[in-house]
Amino acid sequence: MIQIKELTFAYSASTPVFDRFTWSIAPGEAWVVLGPSGCGKTTLLYLLAGLKMPDTGSISIFGKPLERPRPLTGLILQDYGLLPWATVEENASLGWNIRKFYGPDERHAPPGDSVVDITGRVHPWLKRLGILDLREQFPAQISGGQRQRAAIARTLSLEPDLLLMDEPFASLDAPTRESLQDTILSLRTERALTTIVVTHALEEAAVLGQRILLLAEPPNTHPNIIENTGSGKSGFRGSEAYHDVCNELRSAMGAEP
């Protein structure tokens, strides 16, 4: 599905974050990109989202070179992703309103998808994520977890085939974080979504990633991949296999076991 070939990317004149980096992702896979801060994981996500362009090399999705944000790629950031002046419902409808604004021009919206009944597309998602009753509230009036649910509703109502998340639950407390992780796991199986989650927390990587890409201090030249087939199975969090993966990740990241 996604092919990254010989990707090189640097912020002006410093050590390149990626140096002839090659990586590929098959449809339906659940990836986590794990690494310490400054390793380039957010950069990688922005490159995949089409929000940054490689210096050299290429990224293609379903064989098409990526040149701009793709209408079928969803992106969820840690925070500040919602419009502060719009209600939960208006925020969740934003993607559809943008598509309506442009019309189905294939650049900003998928072809042939004319926008009718935005409420009918958005409300089921607000309901599914348990925030339908909050639809008249503004982001500042609701909790961090509810804001992230609104961001997920906004992204998934557009029916993406690829979901990118940057530290999506990092600012949430543990119970809220686990409940949202479970939501993502069930949506993933339900929708056959390809997901890529960026995180610095190895416990989160072990829960969400069937395949885990470890990034280290730049330059990153080749993908270091850890398989974690147990992710997504019920009761995995807390199982022995889960602890094994956590230990493996811990030692791979160079920390004391």
């Binding site: 969820i76 002046w85 934003l94 993607g95 943008i98 604004f101 650049r107 900003h108």
Partner: protein, 248 residues
């Protein structure tokens, strides 16, 4: 602000005024009642016309200022290069008290409404420009990126992000500078015009020595300033509910 509190404050100020005028016993400080009756007597006639002339000048300049300053501010706010280029000039021009330009503008644009409108426009323009620019420049990059990821290009970012983000800045600018705008209006109406509250106040006070009428003019000018401030505040609350509804 509660309406009851504002009315109470008005009552207290009126009481002080009344006491002061009774204490001084001077024609230059008539009683509240004398002024109020002059106000009510004059308002349907001459004073009303002067009030409308002043109101017209402020309202037109406010609209023109918004129309010119908001797009300019948004443009500078989203382009670091443009802002870099223009900000030294704005930095120099912004703090100049625009009232000192009154003679210059009068010389260039003559004595009609235009010169008065332009001078108030100058007062409001820079305030709105600077606040809208800073508001747009300080939008979080995460917000812009996530809206771009939903498919928004330049036009949709303007429509869905920059424009609504600039609304509170416009109202803040108006609330901050409406007082100055009315003050500058007063100055411009002292020169070469026979319409407007500035002219009316000056005429009644310095030429006709009709002090209750002069104070009625002062009251009308205060009400003009207060009314505009109130309108900006009311629109701010109506159009920017997310600012006031912070708590559950």
């Amino acid at each position: 602000m509660k309406t009851g509190h504002i009315l109470l404050a008005a009552l207290i100020i009126a009481l002080f005024w009344q006491m002061l005028s009774m204490f001084l016993q001077q024609p230059i400080l008539p009683s509240v009642i004398a002024v109020a009756s002059a106000f009510l007597r004059e308002l349907p006639g001459e004073l009303g016309w002067h009030f409308l002339a002043s109101l017209w000048r402020v309202v037109v300049s406010t609209f023109l200022a918004i129309l010119l300053a908001v797009p300019a501010g948004l443009l500078l706010g989203q382009s670091e290069r443009l802002n870099h280029f223009f900000s030294p000039a704005i930095y120099l021009l912004y703090p100049i008290p625009k009232v000192v330009l009154v003679p210059v503008v009068l010389l260039f644009l003559g004595v009609g409404d235009l010169s008065k409108i332009v001078i108030i426009l100058l007062v409001l323009f820079f305030q709105i420009l600077v606040l809208v620019r800073d508001q747009a420049a300080h939008l979080r990059s995460e917000l812009l990126l996530s809206v771009r990821s939903l498919g928004a290009g330049r036009r949709a970012l303007f429509r869905f992000v920059y424009l609504p983000a600039s609304l509170p800045a416009i109202f803040t600018a108006l609330r901050q500078s409406i007082g100055t705008a009315v003050a500058v209006l007063y100055i411009t109406e002292l020169f070469a015009t026979q319409r407007g509250l500035g002219y009316y106040i000056y005429m009644q006070g310095s030429t006709l020595f009709k002090y209750p009428e002069m104070y009625a003019g002062v009251l009308a000018m205060s009400l003009l300033g207060f009314g505009l401030y109130f309108a900006a505040d009311w629109l701010n609350q109506r159009l920017c509910p997310w600012i006031t509804k912070k708590d559950v």
